[in-house]
Amino acid sequence: MTDLLAAPSVVPEAAVTVDDGRTRRRLPLGLWFGIAWLVVATFHAYMASRLPWVRGENQRVEGAGRYRIGPSADFWFGSDKLGKDVFARCVYGAKLSITLASVSIVVGLVLGGSLGMIAGYFKGWVDRALAIVIDSLLAFPALVVAALLIGRFDVLQASDIQVAGFGFEWLTRRWSIAIVFSLLSIAPVARIVRAQTLSLSEREYVLAARSLGARTPRILFREILPNLVPAMVSVLFTGIALLLAAEGALAFLGYSIKAPDASWGLMINEARVDIDQYWWATIMPAAMLFMTVLAFNLIGDWVAKRFDIREAAI
């Protein structure tokens, strides 16, 4: 139980023993850091082309000695071996990574949340059947399957195979990554939502609603779903953090966005071999990745603690 921002109806035990309002109101430093970092990062990421202090994504800075220069007032994060500004590429990489991760986790929340709710509410054979599906999905070595699928989607895009008259020219790397990440996020979400639904469906107000003659959809959407929101918000943030990390790993294996575009994992992978010659091109994107994952984790963990969701806590 954390002693934070307690609403009057759910005063946690810890807050009762605290003698004044001082500690009760204060949010943890980490949360502030997380929010601040995300605001700055997303602002930069989505406004990049309009900000005067961010150079173009692939804009090269011409002139002798512009390659591999260290961090300075002009190049905050230095420049890489092609003379591109590492800071600008970090910013552009942020946009792609964050967009992909958030879109995928939302899809995963909708699909996995429905599965988890159905499994947790109906129990019995429905639950058992869905449990096997969820267990199977969890047993996949996620990173490997992601690499495999993205590799095959590349082939599919290049081929002239048609399903029901539609080709697959649209299936670029961005789409395949979004599809694969959505698929991968279904099972963990379903597991958490199922556990939550199981305990929620035993509550008195659900029993009350049922004895008043409420139909199943009403109970699911009006009684249970609103109470799942905190868990889902928590999963949203920690899930984005996980997917950002996964994107980094995929890029590292060569299965993320392709070269002229920027992504943090890609930048790390490009420059890591020469880390002893110019460390900034590897360390800086790695630091950005770490800070962003940390920020999402901090927020997700705070939500989980605030609403006492055991399954979603780190």
């Binding site: 996949f140 490997v144 980094g248």
Partner: protein, 321 residues
Amino acid sequence: MRYVLQRLFQFLIVFVIVTFVVMVFTRIGSRDPVRDLAGGAVGEAQIEEVRQDYPYLDKPLVQQYVYWLGDFVTGDLGRSYLQSQEGIDMFKQRLPATLFIAFWAIVIGLLLAVPIGVYSAYRRDGPFDRIASVSSFGVISMPPVVVGVALLYLVVVRFGYFPTVGASNYVAPWDSPIGHFKNFFVPALTLGLGLGSVWSRFLRADMNLTLQSDFIMLAKAKGVSPGRVLWVHALRASVLSLVTSVALQTSALIGGAVISETFFGPKGIGERLVFAIQGNDILIIQAITAVLVVGVVIANLLVDLLYAVIDPRIRHMRQLG
């Protein structure tokens, strides 16, 4: 016993689903699996050879799967025509490196987690607990790639002791313990740090609850020494969630091993799998994922059985049910 059989049956279903789905995945966008297996742009003679070895590849997917499963169970792990290597030889060559990385990572993780977790719980909210809590949260938020970069920069480049990027080789500990340490320490540490932080948090949380329970009070009242109370009475009662987490992390561990192998070197099964995916070496992809899934499943099963060993209450409940 009945419980074990039930679990075993459940895991069999999971195994079949996962391996079948992986097989379907390898066929996405492919018109002719025989040609893929032979290596793409090859002559008619080689394709004919593959067709003779694996005549079932033009049958419907379900039939192919049954043939493949039969082969797999009887020990025929497929063949890589790209590398001219039998699947079984490939495993002999590559599996030890991955197993060692995973093993040492788990050892490092536990060596970090148990002392930190126990001491944090013992001196709850003290300076050590706070520092440990913040730093373990930080390390959890580090993706394997970032840990790899950090270790590379802070350890490998600074001190010329460890082999650099991709230069590590597989050295068996019984051949040369020092060489083994040199080649495996950094990759294992890459994974072990993350595992250790996750586990120390689990252990601390669990331990906090245990230390408040009555039997700890009783042990203290009886005059059992504080060290014994902590390390024997409380620790044994608190390892349940730690053990669960070890099982849950196996899948993540595999992913991490792939990264760490590709990053630092001792080329193991994960690196081979990525290579197979790039070359669309379908039988090798199927064989390796199947073996990995079996590994995950066995880990889960072992943990399930360990529960009963650790916690007598669970043992009794299972015997009754």
